[in-house]
């Protein structure tokens, strides 16, 4: 086997059932997946696991925790340029926005709405990791 080493994806989500399903999809798609079930261990995993991409759920526990996780990741030396996908169960493009990130809010690469079509997820992840 001479295939390239698998890209490593970090999933941060407190909905374990969602997490497991997404993990399976990514593994089937040929990725190595590490998971974190809360924001803090997610931020730690960015440092310890050095992933190629992270998927962060916006709605962990309290509204907005996802935002603070993203901020903390962006402050880490390994997290400054890490490709980030943020997931939300509400349509953030829609008319109902509970919070608007401030101007200085760290950039994420993509905001996607839950649930995700497997093919879409794999396509986006591939785009962002290449």
């Amino acid at each position: 086997m001479t295939s390239e080493p698998k890209k490593k994806i970090l999933l941060i989500d407190d909905d374990i059932d969602f997490l497991k399903a997404t993990k399976l999809i990514l593994e089937k798609g040929g990725y190595q997946v590490v998971t974190a079930e809360d924001g803090k261990s997610g931020v730690d995993a960015v440092e310890s696991e050095n992933p190629d991409l992270a998927v962060v759920d916006m709605m962990m526990e309290t509204w907005g925790e996802g935002f603070s996780v993203v901020s903390k990741i962006r402050k880490l030396s390994g997290g400054k340029t890490l490709p980030l996908i943020v997931l939300s169960s509400v349509d953030l493009q829609g008319p109902y926005q509970s919070f608007e990130p401030s101007e200085e809010f760290p950039k994420v690469n993509m905001v996607l709405q839950k649930p995700l079509k497997a093919e879409d997820l794999l396509r986006y992840v591939q785009e962002l990791t290449n």
Binding site: D17, F18, A21, L24, S89, V90, P95, K114, P115, K117
Partner: protein, 374 residues
């Protein structure tokens, strides 16, 4: 006293010293702090710096008149209850002052007991106003939290189920039989319906508490219709329906919230696709006259029985009763949503239908600007 039992500040504005003294004596007996002003300007100054709960204002004063004072106080000092003091001859102006926002009036001369009774009633009134506003805010807050709660707690499990179906499909891959695929697809569709239902229900709540339709701007229906058509053309194509527009030239702009109106058109077109047999057509046209701008969505579908039309906008009503075909199953809230959105635009939605030949939904918008040059 206020609700916590603290004394209130009461301001008396009158150019007669005897009235000022009399009022002070009478009201101080109730334990209140009484401020007095001999003219309107001094009264306004005290009202702004001291923020009294009540102000008694004499109508007949030199320089700044009582009416002007009331006008400014009613606009500038929140929660201030204004009571007019007036001579017999000026009942008409007392009425006028009530219109300007005064709560009550007292004809001169008045007894101390009378004054105290009016003051008590006015303070009660003020407390009720403040309490009512507090409750209203509290209710709004609960409502908002509830929406947040529902959004998270109801959608998250559905998203997790959908995601697991995705994973299951992927894990099984080629070993997934047609039969099993169908089962999964059925489950998915029902979950999707439930998601739509929650979405529509939330939309209606948002309209009710005003977090929807807040961005009103002057907009052209042509653009709104164009966006809805783009969004729906694939679905129409899949169902072998033609979707065409027949838009009036120079259609005047309307005042509206772009996003919610796009949703209204998508909803109505979506409805039409459910009830129009393959090979049929859905046409969107526009029209206007001096007082309104309207948009029509017509289909060549099976039509709605006359007796059912009045119930179309009732939440969860289904024109097709229990004849619940897969493709016509919806949330039961789509048209309710459209109606609420149109209400919020000061417009309306009407429907005409002929069984066997088709249905037309018409959206009526008031003209946003009055005619010019006539």
């Amino acid at each position: 006293m206020d609700q916590a039992g603290r004394p209130e500040k009461i301001l008396i504005i009158d150019d007669e010293q005897s009235i000022l003294d009399g009022c002070r004596q009478a009201l101080e007996k109730l334990g209140h702090e009484v401020l007095t002003a001999a003219d309107g300007e001094e009264g306004l100054r005290l009202a702004r710096t001291e923020r009294p709960a009540l102000a008694f204002v004499d109508l007949k004063m030199p320089r700044l008149s009582g009416m002007e004072v009331i006008d400014i106080l009613a606009k500038d000092i929140p929660d201030l209850i204004i009571i007019v003091i007036t001579g017999y001859a000026s009942i008409m102006s007392a009425v006028e002052s009530l219109k300007k926002g005064a709560y009550d009036y007292m004809p001169k001369p008045f007894a101390p007991d009378q004054l105290r009774a009016v003051a008590r009633r006015a303070l009660d009134h003020r407390n009720l106003l403040i309490e009512a506003r507090r409750l209203k805010q509290e209710r709004k807050e609960i409502e908002r939290n509830f929406i947040t709660f529902v959004t998270h707690e109801m959608r998250s499990p559905l998203a997790a189920i959908q995601q697991n179906f995705e994973a299951l499909t992927m894990v099984l891959g080629d070993s997934l039989t047609d039969e099993a695929s169908e089962i999964i697809e059925r489950c998915r569709r029902r979950i999707q319906n439930l998601e739509d239902l929650i979405e529509h229900w939330l939309d209606i709540r948002r309209i009710e508490n005003g977090t929807f339709v807040k961005e009103r701007e002057e907009l052209l229906l042509d653009e709104v219709i164009q966006r809805a058509v783009e969004e729906m053309s694939q679905l129409c194509h899949n169902r072998d329906l033609t979707l065409e527009t027949n838009l009036a030239e120079n259609l005047p702009a309307v005042m509206g919230d772009r996003e919610s109106l796009v949703r209204v058109f998508i909803n109505i077109i979506g409805n039409a696709t459910k009830y129009t047999p393959a090979g049929g057509a859905i046409t969107i046209s526009t029209d206007y006259n001096d007082s309104y701008v309207k948009a029509m969505v017509s289909d060549t579908g099976k039509g709605i029985p006359r007796g059912k039309i009045p119930f179309l906008f009732v939440p969860f009503y289904r024109a097709d009763g229990n004849d619940n075909q897969e493709r016509t199953r919806g949330s039961g809230l789509g048209l309710t949503f459209c109606k609420r959105i149109m209400d919020a635009h000061d417009g309306k939605i009407t429907v005409e239908s002929k069984e066997g030949s088709g249905t037309t939904f018409t959206l009526h918008f008031p003209r946003s600007t009055p005619r010019e040059g006539e």
